[in-house]
């Protein structure tokens, strides 16, 4: 019997509320985004112990993966990394202030700027990868040897399946991105590097498509996820904020911000818990209900479309493996990453 996770619960609730809704795709797509968010949070805490943010680590790792002399242009750095050029400039300022990178004018082109990893940057990126993979090493033991072997090719299939629907010039070179990591850190577990590299890429792809579906209501995927949680809870469509933390994988502060925005948009209202007046509850308004009812069909169809090239057996295998990983990650939340 395989363990259950939040996504099993989500799909059961949908089945009760909308028996005709086929939510099988969420078994893969929702797990990918939930995993990415949780892994990302862990990573922030692990890198934080080294005095850098995940954003800074990404820059350092990209430079390191380019190989000696660890140099790239700012354009090479932000292309395909889902960061704006302004955001990249700010990241480089920060990394340069911390002595992790140095910017210099390129010799052959007076207008061009080159970013080079400093010796200190090299040490920090190696320490960062080491600490991060050490923290996540238990992910290996969640799967059997046979499953571990089956997983990377399935992930690659999933990457192709979801990215091949994009116009060619928008497709990031996911393969070389992941393999450059595996090559750059030969003393680290390649299986884990592959997993930790692929999940965020897949998640960003899923979120991108989700965003397109919910954009017409001026919603983000997170905001829509919150409305969906209220809708799935059944009539009276009402939950306490604390019941939402795990479903939308956000901290109390993140959920509070989201609830406020939804309230302002007239999609939810706040009431007090009759048993404990200090506690709030959020309920869907009629408009909120309408938004979910009229959008959820398109939403799951879009996710289904991302998985279209996959065979039924591949989908089943991916669902099983991702469930095991997510359930393991969800159950370890009490430990603090990087605590000493």
């Amino acid at each position: 019997m395989s363990p259950t996770d939040t996504v099993d619960m989500v799909r059961e609730q949908w089945a009760t509320e909308f028996p005709d809704l086929d939510t099988r795709a969420l078994g893969i797509t929702h797990r990918v985004t939930a995993l990415a968010t949780r892994l990302n949070r862990d990573a922030e805490a692990v890198f934080g112990q080294l005095g850098i943010s995940g954003a800074t680590f990404d820059v350092l790792a990209a430079l390191y993966a380019a190989g000696p002399p660890y140099q790239l242009s700012p354009t090479q750095l932000y292309k395909g990394r889902l960061v704006s050029s302004g955001g990249m400039t700010a990241r480089l300022d920060l990394a340069e202030d911390a002595g992790l990178v140095a910017r210099s004018r390129a010799e052959h082109d007076r207008r061009g700027v080159t970013v080079t990893l400093s010796d200190r940057g090299v040490r920090v990126v190696r320490a960062g990868v080491g600490a991060w993979l050490a923290y996540e090493r238990n992910l290996r033991s969640v799967l059997t040897a046979h499953e571990r072997e089956a997983f990377p090719p399935l992930l690659t299939r999933l990457l192709h399946s979801s990215f091949d629907q994009l116009p060619a010039d928008e497709v990031p070179d996911t393969k070389s991105l992941i393999y450059s990591w595996v090559r750059a850190f030969p003393d680290q577990d390649p299986w884990l590097l592959h997993l930790l590299g692929a999940i965020p890429l897949l998640a960003s792809r899923v979120e991108h498509e989700s965003a397109k579906v919910v954009r017409s209501w001026s919603l983000t995927p997170n905001g829509f996820g919150l409305l969906c949680a209220l809708r799935r809870s059944g009539p009276a469509f009402r939950l306490a904020p604390s019941e939402l933390y795990d479903v939308v994988v956000l901290s109390p502060a993140g959920v509070a911000g989201l609830l406020y925005k939804m309230e302002r948009a007239g999609l939810i209202v706040r009431s007090n818990d009759p048993e404990d007046k200090r506690l709030n509850r959020a309920s869907l308004t009629r408009r909120g209900l309408k938004v979910v009812n009229s959008t959820i069909g398109d939403f799951v169809m879009r996710h289904e479309w991302l998985l279209k090239p996959l065979a039924e057996t591949e989908r089943e295998a991916l669902t099983t493996l991702l469930r095991q990983l997510l359930s393991s990650v969800e159950h370890r939340r009490d430990e603090t990453p990087g605590a000493h």
């Binding site: 990415a36 954003a55 302004g86 202030d97 509070a256």
Partner: protein, 116 residues
């Protein structure tokens, strides 16, 4: 649970952040704007937080978050019991508080890694 030392270690990595001792209480500021401060006994941390989102935050976890003192209610400010948060959540709260008081261009470097 986290302590003021954990907060200090994290805050010291944030650009433009400085520490000050005001009336026996430790505060972290950017320029003259305070974004984190501690009670004298260091069990409660105040932090910058949008006041219009405050009721949802406190009403979600009233054992963890508290309204600021009456004189601070008009500010973007909330209190949290340090015993009730872990390292990860503390970082998110402090980072968001810091982000509220620095220029956007500085904050841009410190966004969490993109998931959307």
């Amino acid at each position: 649970m986290v302590t003021m030392m954990d907060v200090r270690r994290f805050a010291s990595t944030l650009p433009r952040s400085t520490e000050a001792l005001v009336g026996g209480r430790v505060k972290f500021r950017v320029g003259r704007i305070v974004y984190v401060s501690f009670s004298r006994d260091e069990t409660v941390m105040g932090f910058a937080f949008p006041k219009e989102e405050r009721d949802w935050l406190i009403g979600g976890t009233p054992d963890k978050f508290m309204q600021p003192h009456a004189s601070d209610l008009r500010y973007n400010w909330v209190l949290v019991r340090l015993a009730a948060v872990d390292e990860t959540e503390m970082r998110e709260l402090v980072l968001d508080a810091w982000r509220m008081v620095v220029p956007k261009s500085v904050a841009a470097a410190y966004v969490m890694r993109p998931v959307d």
